[in-house]
C-alpha cells in the first residue's frame, strides 16, 4: 500500500547527489563521506583500499541502519593530501585492479573455451541433469 518502491534502495532519486562530503571540524585532515544508495559491497572495498594507502591515518565505514540505503565513510590523512583526493585515488586503483582481473578472467574463459570444456551456450540453459557428473564437492 504505502510501502516505498524497493528499487529506491539502489536507484538515486531525481536530482539526488550520490555523495555528500562533510569536513571534520574537530579532527585535522579528516572528512566524512555519505554515499547514498550503496552498501557494503562498495563501502568495505573502499575502506580496505584507502586503509592500504600510506598517507592515511584512519579509515572506517558504517551502515548506520540496515533499512537506510547509505553508508558513511570516514577518512583521516596525514595532511599531505586531502581525504577527497585519497578517496578518488583509491577508486582509481580499484578500477585498475578490477580491469586487470577482468582481462584475466576473459583470458581464462577463452582458454577453457578453446579446450572445449564447455560448448558455451550464449542463451544459458543447463544441458545436464542434476546429480550427473562429479562435482568438486563430492568428497
Amino acid at each position: 500500500m504505502n510501502a516505498p518502491n524497493r528499487f529506491e534502495l539502489f536507484v538515486l532519486d531525481d536530482g539526488e547527489k550520490p555523495v555528500e562530503v562533510t569536513e571534520d571540524t574537530k579532527i585535522p585532515n579528516a572528512a566524512t563521506f555519505k554515499v547514498v544508495k550503496q552498501d557494503h559491497t562498495l563501502a568495505n572495498m573502499l575502506r580496505a583500499q584507502v586503509l592500504s594507502m600510506p598517507q592515511v591515518l584512519f579509515a572506517g565505514y558504517k551502515v548506520p541502519h540496515p533499512l537506510h540505503p547509505y553508508f558513511v565513510l570516514k577518512i583521516q590523512t596525514d595532511g599531505s593530501i586531502t581525504p577527497q583526493a585519497i578517496l578518488e585515488q583509491a577508486c582509481t586503483k580499484l578500477i585498475a585492479t578490477l580491469s586487470t582481473l577482468e582481462a584475466k578472467f576473459k583470458r581464462e574463459f577463452s582458454f577453457k573455451d578453446a579446450e572445449g570444456a564447455v560448448p558455451e551456450d550464449p542463451y544459458g540453459g543447463t544441458g545436464q541433469a542434476w546429480g550427473t557428473g562429479k562435482d568438486y564437492l563430492d568428497f
Binding site: V11, D14, Q38, T41, M45, T92, I95, T100, Q128
Partner: protein
Amino acid sequence: MQYEDAEPIVRIRELKKDRVNFVLENVDLALANSIRRVVMADIPTVAIDMVEIHSNTTVLPDEFIAHRLGMVPLVSANCDEGIRYTRDCTCLSGCKYCAIELRLDVVCNDNRTMEVTSNHLEVVEFTTDSGSADNVQEGDEIAKRGEAFGNPVGKNDPSVPPVLICKMRKGQELRLRCVAKKGIAKEHAKWSPCSAVAFEYDPYNKLRHTTHWYEAEERAEWPLSENAKEEEPPRDDESFDFIAKPRKFYVDVETDGSLGPQEVMLKGLAELQTKLANLILALKPPAEMDIVPGAVDTGINGQTAAWAPVSGGAWDVGASRAGSGSPSRAGWGVPSTWEGTSPAQTASTANWGTTSPGQATNAGSWGTSPAHNVWAGNTSPNVGVGGSSTGWGSSSQQGWGSPNQQANGWNL
C-alpha cells in the same frame, strides 16, 4: 585492493554450463568479498513480476502459484541491452521494450495427475493496454535479444527437467498471463542469476578467523575441504602469525541458468567498476574546483580531456534513470560556474600544487585502461534509450572539449 602490488591471479579450475570454479590470488579479502556480493545481488536478469490469473481451479491458491512462477528462471542473456527497466521506460505500465509476456493455458482431461511445468509457459507478443502505446519510445532492444530470451531455462530441452508449478486432476484448469520484467536481486531474490556462490579462504584456519568447536580432537572432527590441497598444511611447531592476511580465495559460482557463468563474472566486475566510476564522478565537481588554481593550464587541460569521455558515458547511467532535465546535470556542463568559483579558491594554491600532477596521471592511465570500454558498453543502451541524454552528452563534450577558452579566462 591489490595484495602488496602483486598482480592479481585468476585460475579457473572448472567451467561448466552453469557453474565456474576458480581461485583468486593476490587480492584483498574485501575485494574478493565485493565480487561475491556483486554477482549475487547486482546483476540484472528477467523474472516474472506480475501474474494475471484468468482461471484457477487447481488446489493451489492464486498467490501461491504467482509466487512459484516468479521463481522460475528465465533466459536473460544480454539483459543489459535486450530489455529496459520498466521504471526507466516511457510507457505507462509495460511495453514490449521493458516487459515480456508469458502465457500459461492448461486443462487436465486425463484420469491421471497432470503436472503443470515451466514447459507450459509460452512467450507471446506483448499485449499492450489500449491507449498506452502512444508514448512508447522506440528502441532496438528487441533485435539484441537471443531467440530464447525470456523463455524458461531449459525449455524444450529433454535433458533439463522442467520446473514443476502445480499438479492437477481431471477437470481442473489453469489459465494465466505473466509479465516478466528486468530487475536485480536487491529488489527481490528471484532476480539473482546465482543459485549458489561458494566462497572459502584459509582452509586450515591458520589465520584463526573462525573458531572450531570440538569435543576431543579438532583435526579429527573438522574434515578438511577439497581446497586444502592447494595450501601447505600448518606445521605443529608453527607459531601464530597474527599479521598474515588471506590472499587466496576459492570461489564457486553456480548460476540458475538465466545467465551463463562467464556472463555473470564479467558483468559483476563491470558493475563494480561502474559503481566506483560513479563515485569518482560524484566526487569530481567539488574536487575539480579545488584543484583548479594549483593545476593552472597543463594539469587542468590534461585532466578535462581525459575525463570528458568517461563522464559523458557514465553519467548517462544516472541521468537516464532520473529522466530528462535533471538540475544537477545542467549545472555541471555550464562553464560559468567554474569561472565563478575559481578565483575564490586561490588561497589553497600552494597546498594543491603537489597533488595535481598525481591526479592528472591517474586520469590518464584511466582513460586508456580497458575498464573504460566496459562502461561504454554498459551504458550504451541508456544512451540509445534517451534521445535527450545523447544530445546532452554531445553538447557537454563540446563544452568540456574547449578548455582553452576557460584556461584563457583564468590566465587573464
